[in-house]
Amino acid sequence: MKTYALIVDVEKCENCNNCFLSCKDEHCGNDWPGYAAPQPPHGHRWMNIKRRERGTFPMIDAAYRPTPCMHCDDPPCLAAAEHDAVVKRDDGIVLILPERARGQRGLAASCPYGAIWWNEELQLPQKCTFCAHLLDGGWQQPRCVQSCPTGALSLFTGDSEQLQNIVVDEGLQVLPVGSGAHPRPRVYYKNLYRYDRCFIGGTVARMREGVEECADGVSVVLRQGRDLLAEAVTDEFGDFRFDNLVRDSGDYLVEIVVGDTIAAARPFSLGVSGSLGTIMLE
């Protein structure tokens, strides 16, 4: 059976907003009966780009997580809907039928991802339709995927088995929700750690003939307790970085290794992303 899913590569998203704006272009002022009533000109974010900076100046990075309706296989909104206002199609797409959903404000609250928006004027809960009206009419991609310039958004078309293979092969993740619920979303993320995990970095420098220099090519190891978690080598600027760490995950130790000896060690307790600063070698 042909089903759809959306794959989002967080590492490739640069916050250009083409997805957000093409969604508005398609849905603001346009009525798609059976799929969606017009989106109001302002306020809704059917494609919501969540932003996160990690670290502090000067060692930082930035990540963006486009967040549409997850088109869950077990949609909480479906369970919350009255009058069959929410339908789960065989191809995986979840629609809120405007004809049946009028006044059902509770649908917005039912979504654990905050992906359902309330249209005050029309008294309608509204959300991403996967551009089903276009796909049903022969379009190859929803508007957001079509306008994405970096490949951060891609469309999956195939059966469940093929999808599961890709999920495993590429290490895709879904967004977790609290409270132990498992709505089984159909939006999958690659490199999600860039958004929801932490890094710890630092800079190694040394004095050479009275001049401070970046120490490049130096081995750095990250330990937690007795475990060696990761190894890195400083770059031309003496910088190193360990990524994909869990926020508030306890005590760690960074060791700078020169030859066979530990030239410096820095214990730290990981809260959020950051830098250990400049470590001067003797």
Binding site: L21, H42, R45, R143, E212, E236
Partner: protein, 1002 residues
Amino acid sequence: MAAYFMDRVLTRSEGVSDLLFRLILVSLYQLMRFKLAYNPLFRSSVGDKELTAQIKIRGDRLGRTYVFKQGRLTSTGGVAPAADVSLIFSDTRTAVRLMLDQSNKLRQLNALKNFRVDLEGDDRDAMWFSRTLSMLRYFHTEPSYGIPAQGGTTRYVSNTNGGPVFVYVKEGRIVRITPIIFDEKDGRSWTIRARGKEFTPPRRGSVNPYVLGLKSLIYSKDRLLYPMKRVDFDPHGERNCANRGISGYQRISWDEALDIVASEIKRVKQQHGPGAIMNSSGSHHTWGNLGYWLSAKTRFMNSIGSSHVVHNPDSWEGWYWGAMHHWGNSMRNGGSDTYGTVEDCLKEAELIVFWSSDPESTSGVYGAFEGTVRRQWAKELGIKMVHIDPYFNHTAALMGGKWLAPRPDTGNAMALAIAWVWITEDLYDKEYVTERTVGFETWRDYILGKHDGIPKTPEWQEPETTVPAREVRALARMWGRLKTYLSPGGLVGFGGACRCATGTEWARSMVCLMAMQGLGKPGRNLGCLQQGAPVDTNFYFPGYAEGGLSGDLDYTGLRVSVYQRMPQLPSMNSVSQMIPRLRIPEAILDQACEGYPTDPKSIEGQFRKIVYPAPGHAPVRMYYKYGGSHFGTMADSNRYARAYRSDNLEFVVNQSIWFEGEAAFADIILPACTNFERWDIGETANSGGYSHHQFIQWNHRVITMQHKCIEPLGESKSDYQIFLELVERLGLGAPFSEGQTELQWVRRLFDASDLPQVISWPEFLKKGYYVVPAPAEANRAPVSWRWFAEGRKKDVPELAPLPSDYSQWREGLQTQSGKLEFESSSLKRFAPDDPERPVIPTWIPSWEGHHHKALYEKYPLNLISPHPRYSFHTMFDGKDGSINDVKDHRVLINGRYYWIVRINSQDAAARGIGSNDLVTMFNDRGAVICAAQLTERIPPGTVHSCEGSSVYEPTGEPGSSPDRGGCINVLTPSRNIIKKSHSSASNTCLVEVKLYREEAQK
């Protein structure tokens, strides 16, 4: 062949031509009657026009009269004494030749210029008759265009600053605007093989985000739909100039509006003399070779005679006034060509240094996201990247690599320190320096401190830039050891670092650094894969700066190709008075100013001083403002608001699409439509002029028919139509329009290009675009600078410098020595002792920076105001469009969308500022109220807020109260970077930021 025999026959006997002439006049009558009966378009065009026209031979020897009355036509042989319109030929041979072969435009123009043909009568009637005759030949039915698409829509094509688009229209309304996805028939793509991999671009065009907001802007509630008059403006009585920007407007008819503008044009010319009319436009306009400001507007302004506003080289500043003196490239405003660099970079380079370079935000210019995939390939190949920018920009965030954040306006100190490391550690190309450059020793000695006792070491630069010395040393070593591409600016020759007090010296140093590293050798060149795709540079289609239908040979590129390919009446401006754009306020308020010109013909073009008023010319009394607002883009912009309110300015007309920015300072507002509501033709990113071959930013050359997708909204009209209706009131209809409609001009431009060799007009008109196939590998443009590095003749496809500017044609550079000059010979000739621009690039601290202790204490934050990411200058911003909802463009607070200032969290904390708090950013020049965005992407001591707000909303007196629209240039200095220039230092700006409290303002 037929024309040849016709000429033979006509030459032989006047009797034959007389007979043919009579026959043609009768046939015209029959043809018009036939069309009136059977062609609805012709019938509606004739309408209820009541008019007597005649076609005759001078001296009334032969002729025929046509009487239009109540939609009917009658005709009599012979000449009527009281005709409203007369089309007069010198003789029957000329008449027959012209009327039988209307496709020969050159012959028609020559006949006009030699008075072999003339048109008499009221201009509007004459132009109507001329159009009626031309309809007998062209487009006798509605042209068929567009492709039927899903859901009952028709798919049209248009073009924008941010990429070509499909436009889906249903029942006269735009449903959606999307990028263009190529089909299998569209021209083939290129493939680059590098390091064992093959790279081919995706088969589509990309678009900038603002393009996807266009529909919301076309239907914006801020569209100007009717002509308007300021309520307290009376052209025959009180003008109340001081109320500009304050008073409201009332709707008036087009006739009233155009009559006022036309009579004011006549009045100021008669009352004050030449030069009293000034026109200015934004740097950019809606896309298209006909509608662009260098086309229809220029022909109009030349037709009425107007003071020429000289644009400063606003994106190039430091390159134009500085770098040009070391490598020439005047035709590129001091920037560089970048041919073949995508292939060379991917094959050879090991490092890309992005210096003040954020193509992911600025798209080079018009480049959309075409370069993004190429940079992703570079990342895949393991090419290292370093980003030098006070802001952790979007290119750095996407591509990764080391980020160095110098204090704004100090980058040149870092550049000199890099040179110091190379010199002292022997990390430069000595052979290249010896053979391809001159003056190195002088600069080397300066770097080493032999002139001033100060070696320009990494430690020396640290207090200036705040970048640790060890990091600059590491960068210098990396750069000196690896094959490196330098990308100064998102486009080579741009960059915010060239638009500050030290910008001239910085750009000069960029040239000198590359001169030390063998510029042009494999893997050592300029750019960041934003330019230099291997598309076909031999296929000709004009760019907008080539002047379209302007007829202007002085200030457009028309004379190079378009004038020959599309013969047209020249439109020379008789007014030689020039006004530097950055001095418009002084030209009005003080009636005196000066500056230096942007004249890229030669290096010396920039040395001729402009003095205003020009000898014997009147100061400006009437301002014809057209297009985008200056408030969001020009320095110290409150000056412009104050100038508007001066009695020195007797009349202001503003021709705009939206009610925004400066429009509220006009006496009469003329509503123009967007390019989606009129005909045009254009190629994406092809600007021509000083951005020659700019389309090499694109992975495919996409040339578009710009369909008239919908009818103009409300009563708005195309710019061309507005100008036409004005010139008809001034008797200039024929020389302005040549009797042509916009679609006819589009067809002429199509014919003038190489398109007819590859696609028919009906097919192009229907499908709406043509993708130029990638050339065979042998026809790819050679790599820029390679010829120079290898000591060969110049082989890249550009017609610059001019032949006279070489010592030996195509050998060497435009500089006097023909080499890269560390010590500039042009500056030695012009002003060798200028302390602001010495003959070698040196460290000259900013004139508004941390060295100015009292000022710095008062205003301790360096403001940078780069080009915006989600709008194109003022285009696409505001106007209640969907762009307003982009989280990083504006922020909705208390019902108003505020402009964003980005501030380091430490600076914010010290001032009690939280995220999304409203703040006042201010200095002695003014104040702007913004929404604060707390960030680590900017170091403490620096704040970031883009230029380009289209909204100017003074909280009190216009010109002297805080603006809450977001015009950041209210804060920036109007001082020239150096005195001998006309330049903008927008990134030299000290400010303070404090919490905004509305109550406190009252």
